[in-house]
Chain length 252, copies 2
DNA sequence: GATCATAGTCGTCTGCCTGACGATAAACAC
DNA sequence: GTGTTTATCGTCAGGCAGACGACTATGATC
């Protein structure tokens, strides 16, 4: 027995993506330029409609693949390959958030290692990685001196919530490894924490902490010199997902 | 310019509520009996359609008031009066979660102090507080010896997620006070933690921890003997929302 | 009224973890 | 070789948590 369609108002349901990565020691998010009204020409988060036969997570994974080529991890499987971490973030449903009609957006958060270059349907000029502070600042000027328009719709709020989720989640989980390539050094992992939190961490205490937490890191045996200086051990992400005790974010 | 309605599939959007409270040293959730198919006669979480002009949080607050008479707090205002804490939990949108049509449910989590009795549109027999283990057990027998049917739809999953959110959130926030009356003793707060986590806590260490965390508790000056034994100091919830360092949940 | 049971509150001690920081190691640039 | 950079190991003091002893203040029971 289907519902009486007059008994409830119809909604459009979309997924929007907060895709974060660390580039050049800065936390960056994927932004796409809108090609049509409303907010034509403004930057926005990637996203799209949920299809009739699609789960929300499937829709988010499909959008992520379309925008970045990344495959999403099965959340039940620990991070192993080069895929991105994908999780539901929150849902935004203010009646006026889209001027055209009633749209409820289920935002998702994706964490990815540094990628070569974004592609938005093949058009590179309409997609870019931008530092999150640049995307979130209101009416300032970007690094190139041009005025910065705020993100379309309520996407500044969504991005802000996604960044806060990422910042708090790397405290008590091993999610920071999702920003790293499959093999990485302790120093690279530390620079991820520093970029996401925007702080400087003591390399010695950080090294002691991450190598001393069981299941966080697994040495691969190899070493590298990627960053100059003494060669560093290479690690993969271990099976542990929850860090106990957590990494402590320095205050202020 | 409205969307072309043929460009996207129409969805129904509902809010479902995980309303938790602590009664008789057990973590309980509000359940309502379904009066119509599908799942007629089965227990389910309270919920309903989001109206055309309503925000998601407004819809959740309205449903909460209809089912329990509780007013929800403005999330920006710290807990002071007898209202309930209300926050968005997660969104569930499996294409088959409702056999009738495509329904996306934005689940919310509410934490309330112990209430006299539930009312579901005035019909008490169709609403009850039930221990969460009882609602979540699959095909067992309840306290009264009658067989227990699983919750309708995917509500067991939603309830499970809500309980897990509550369990983890009282670790690092002062949310446990949302389960307490406006004035409460340290022992009452401890029994909240014990019920939600299902563990026993050392009364002395707990007392030291909560009274030593700045901003968590504010003494009102009064004392009480509600639980027998030596009179205890009464407290109100302080302004702090985040506990740093957090309460530690004993392992296993 | 003495005794007991029940809760609440204050202390002590020990072990672990963290932050601060010195020291050494192994590469590269000149 | 010297200096620079990054990685890694150690040391030490302070803080917090778990274990648990001791004392206090009420009501219940004999």
């Amino acid at each position: 027995m289907p519902y009486d369609p007059s008994a409830f108002p119809p909604f459009a349901v979309t997924v929007d993506l907060v895709v974060l990565t660390v580039r050049r020691h800065a936390l960056c998010a994927l932004a796409v330029r809108r090609g049509e009204p409303p907010f034509q020409g403004r930057w926005a988060l990637p996203g799209g409609f949920v299809r009739a036969d699609e789960d929300l997570a499937q829709a988010a994974a499909r959008e992520l693949a379309e925008e970045t080529g990344l495959r999403a991890h099965d959340p039940a499987v620990p991070v192993q390959d080069n895929g991105a971490h994908l999780e539901q973030l929150a849902t935004y449903g203010d009646p006026k958030r889209d001027p055209r009609m009633r749209v409820v957006s289920v935002a998702h958060l994706a964490l990815a290692p540094d990628l070569p270059a974004p592609r938005a349907g093949g058009d590179a000029s309409n997609a870019r990685w931008a530092p999150v502070e640049e995307l979130l600042q209101q009416g300032g000027y970007g690094r190139d001196g041009e005025p910065v328009a705020p993100l379309a719709f309520d996407h500044a709020q969504i991005l802000s919530d996604g960044v806060e989720r990422a910042r708090s989640k790397i405290e008590y989980s091993s999610l920071a490894t999702a920003f790293c390539p499959p093999e990485f050094t302790v120093g690279e992992l530390r620079r991820v924490y520093e970029a996401v939190w925007g702080v400087a961490l003591d390399p010695r205490n950080f090294h002691r902490k991450v190598t001393g937490t069981p299941g966080f890191l697994v040495p691969t045996g190899g070493t590298t010199t990627r960053q100059g200086g003494r060669p560093a051990q290479l690690f993969r992400a271990g099976g542990a997902t929850l860090l106990n005790p957590p990494m402590l974010r320095p205050e202020v």
